[in-house]
Symmetry: C2
Subunit: 361 residues, 2 copies
Amino acid sequence: MTDRLSRLQSKLSAEGVDLLALAPGAHLAWLLGFNPHGDERPLLFCVTPESAGFLMPALEADSARQHTDLPFHCWVDDAGPQAAFDALLEDLGAGNAGSIALDETMRADHAALVQDRLMNAKRQFTESTVGAMRMRKDEAEFAILKHNAQTADRAMQAAWGAMQVGMTELEVAGIVKDAFRDQGVAPLFWIIGTGGNGAFPHHQTGETRLKEGDAVIMDIGGGVDSYCSDITRMAVLGAAPEGFDEVHAVVNAAVEAALQAARPGVKAHVLDDAARAVITEAGYGDYFVHRTGHGLGTTVHEPPYITASSQTVLEEGMVFSIEPGIYLPDRFGLRLEEIVYVRADGPEILSDLPRDVRVVG
Amino acid sequence: MTDRLSRLQSKLSAEGVDLLALAPGAHLAWLLGFNPHGDERPLLFCVTPESAGFLMPALEADSARQHTDLPFHCWVDDAGPQAAFDALLEDLGAGNAGSIALDETMRADHAALVQDRLMNAKRQFTESTVGAMRMRKDEAEFAILKHNAQTADRAMQAAWGAMQVGMTELEVAGIVKDAFRDQGVAPLFWIIGTGGNGAFPHHQTGETRLKEGDAVIMDIGGGVDSYCSDITRMAVLGAAPEGFDEVHAVVNAAVEAALQAARPGVKAHVLDDAARAVITEAGYGDYFVHRTGHGLGTTVHEPPYITASSQTVLEEGMVFSIEPGIYLPDRFGLRLEEIVYVRADGPEILSDLPRDVRVVG
């Protein structure tokens, strides 16, 4: 972790960032290996190319001190954070920072504390600093992500093994969650969309019952050792609905096209272009309403984002989803999602599950 | 809910706020009765005194449309949100808003979308608008909060009934969580601090085992029907540690002093002053390191905050905690927490549990 902090400080220097401010959350946890309790009280970790320190609510200090020796500037509820923040900036030599980077997930009122004090600073978020660093995963991180992907494969299979006509989406979700927990994994999300519900990409899993002939989309993920999994596969109850097999073949070909393009040195938009071209040429372009993918690591959505406009150049060690989809209102939604690790010679898929439709029930 | 929106618009008008922007979260859920999925994609609900509408990621639109008829300005991943946001402001007649209020919990990058577009607007957060409205709970909300408090009482009693020397803090937390779940309540937090751990106000419940003679602080809460509970009580395993009984009497007297002061028309700081005076006079002022309380409702911490500097005038229907504490390093922490509902003639305590120390094990 010390290594990550010193690498970050070199990065700040290279990028011309005078001050980086992080809030409790994924960036801070990745950087220092612990995540202090965050609430409405401003708690900031501030880093310059030369120094680092915390703005720390007094009542968090003792707990946080068990995890770090870095300097704290504490404030008590009745005084408020302003004086302690000013003192921290003074100590860090950042009182006149001309270029600041803010944790994009920070609460707006906490960001205002920084921005109002450094009114004339040029602001960016973390995409060129800690965000860029977190995009590349090392082999140890790969091993955790691979293990996680296999637990998600088993959770998917557990649901397929139990799914029946008449069951509700929430009951299917319950099977997924139990299967994660049985493997020591915390369930993070579970989109179970049967029939027309699947046509909402972010459907809220509910009381709808599975019917004969429904296509069921399942997009699930869990967390273990601070890292996440994320997979989407399709099942059908008995016979597939009309048009399903054709759409499945199109989406699978879109996945293949993006996989083919996923190599170091390629810009991320090339993958989106490749997947989108397959779907557009098949006549379903208007029904692919989202980006092709997102990075995955200690959070479920993080850079690199695989969009039509992304100029991010892929590098070895990047981990992201490839998940094109076609959503046909009132009929079904069909998405297939792989997580890949970019290696010198191309993408390694983390899941061991085939993308074939699974007939269940 | 329509009523809440129209009341909010009157409030915006009265406070001179041209545009309020809310993100997915507690404010929006309270206002409209549903909480759209929030992630890195900007999703904003914008309100002016005359109009209202959403900046909506395209892939959330269908799900959200099931809950509201208000206008959507949708954007797709590849285009990004800027053009849709500009069109929304145009539609709302807020393109030149001079005074804006932002959801303080909004992500910094989403807040930047609003602020960068309205560079010259005067910015505030929600304390004078939706925050002020949420502070006063009606009798229906009181009934839910009262019910919730009783479920927390039972979870506390379940833990007391099972606590034994040798058990870990996490095992005690497990009993609390099960007791909440058995009542249909989602556990929200559980600070279990035994012995010296209790001296960290926000101790992370861990593997420390309960010892004979330990004082154990338990601060727990759950959520049901979108509202929260929050209670802190003390137990001891066998004989209380040296000095415990005196400190308990001081903290209890501090609670009483704040209760005595809690009436409509009184400023919130008067309650903090009253509790702090009792503790300071007893010689423990340096060990009371936090504010006296916080509001409670659909979130665990919300206005009004009961601090030494708060000028908020208490009104009928406000709900907040009174929770002074004394934290003696390496010995124990002692906090007693009541949630009160402010009535014309004084505070009504929600919990039915006495604040006496409970001898267990």
